[in-house]
Structures are given as C-alpha cells and as structure tokens.
Amino acid sequence: MNGEDVASRMRLELSALAPDRWPAIRRAVAARIAAGLLAELDGLPRPASRLDLERQRRARQLAHREVA
C-alpha cells in the first residue's frame, strides 16, 4: 500500500467516522495544500509573459509592412 492509498483510505474513514467534522478537516487540509502549491508556483519563473508580445507583434507588423 503506497502513501496515496493510505491517504485515500484515511480520507474515506475520516469522512465516515466524523461526518460532522469532515468539512472542517477538509477545509484545513485544502488550505495547506493550496498554500504549499501557490508558494511553489510563485517560486518558479513565470511562464513566458506574452502580454507584451501582442503589442510587439502589432508594432512589428506596422513597422515592417510594405506600402502597396
């Protein structure tokens, strides 16, 4: 049984044994998962920003197009 199986089984058992507390547990777990994820994503270089590319593309087209 791997870590994922254990977590999945615990999740099932907790939700069955403590149905009234499960939503709060889930929220707390989710907050930790998301905080860890977002910290990790913020630590990575951003995917190439393409916002400026759109403006550059337009400027380049205007600059280089030949007069008919």
């Binding site: 999945s8 998962i33 905080a35 994503l41 951003r46 759109e54």
Partner: protein
Amino acid sequence: MTNPAETLRQKAYRLLDEYGALHEESAYAEAKRAYQQLLAEYPDDAGLHLEYGMLQDWHGRRSIRAAVCCYERAIELDPGQDAPHFQLTHSRAALNETERVIGLYKKRLAAAPDQIREYRFLARAYLYAGARDEAGKVIAAGRKLEPDDPTLLDLEADLLDAAGRREESLAIRQTLKQRDPEDLGSWYMSAFTLEAMGRYQEATAEWRYIISWLEAHDNAIHTEWPKEMIAGIEAKIVAADAGDTGS
C-alpha cells in the same frame, strides 16, 4: 480625405490602414470587399494575400477580445458555471494572454482552496500556456484533495499527451470512458492521440463510436466533422498501404 483617382488597390490598403488604427467595422467590411474583388482578379498576388490575411487576423483578434468580455460578464452574472471559465482560458490563450488567467485563477485558488474547480481552472490555464510543469503541480495538488476528480484526470491525460506519454494518456482516457460512457470528451481525445500514433484503425473506431452516439441522441448535425476525420484517416491508410507496396 480620399483621393478621387485612388485605385482599388490603394483604396484597399487605405482601408486596411484605417481599420488597423481605428477598428471601425465599416472600414473592415469595405476593406474585405475590396480585397475579395482584388483577389478574384489577381489570385497569385502574394502582397494581396498578405494584406487580406492581416485584415482577417486583426478582425479575428478583436472578435476574440469581444468574446473574452462576454465570458467575464457571464462569470460575474452566474459564478457557479464552469463553462465560461473554460472558454475564457481558451480565448485568452488564443490572444497569447494566458498570464492573465493564470494570475486570476491563482488568486481565486488562494481565496477558495477547498474548491476543486479552482484547481481545474488553474491547471487548465497553465496547460494552455504550455507550462506543463506547473500544470502538473496543480493537478497533483488538486488530486490530493479529490483523487478521482474526472476533470483533473482529463487534464492529466492532456498533460501526458502533450509530454509524448501517449500510452499513459490513453490509459486515463480509457478509465474515464468506463466511468462515464456518456461523456464523449475522452473518445474525441483518444481518437486524436491514436491517429497521432499511427493507430488508424483504432482511431477510426473511436470516431465511429462518436457518430453512433450522436445519432442515437438526435445530434446527427454534429456527425459531419467525425465523418470528415474518418475520411482523412482513411486517406492516410491508403497512402500508408501505397507506401508499403512501393507504388
């Protein structure tokens, strides 16, 4: 002011320039007519094709930008719907503006970390940005919360496919198909993957399933594209057979 002696070619270019600067639909419509007339007369003029392409490109981008505004408004009016989020991500990607949706969905996830849909939105935004590592991290995090979420599994299959891990992608699609045979998404995606792998007969079988499902659900109007896809695959089979026999 227009020059009374202006040729049609000059007029077309002037309207193209005006549309590029002012974005008026009337200039677009007039320029389109002028270029179509010119292209009918000079079908081999590369310059005309270039300019007409630019006109269509600028107009198309403005249409997509208008669609973005519609999706944003739909989200405001009906926050519970997922579809406008998916469309928004798609349109932003077409405009090369995935950064905007990535930023948006990171904020939303931070505000609602227990909502599985927020992981789906963010994963898709990264996937459409071509940021596969980030998409994978978001999918993995979401699956810690909901291990069997079908949308995250579907995104994982997309991710594996994009990474060239096609057998693994197909295995996930197979699971999704078994879980929900009424959701055609996995059949479509499997058909693309199988065709890309050169497994033409299997790809054709997927399209045939899609056609039969659509016909059984009074959706025959949508069978045209699957039929075109089968015709394309059959042409590839013929070409491959011809190659095999050396003819």
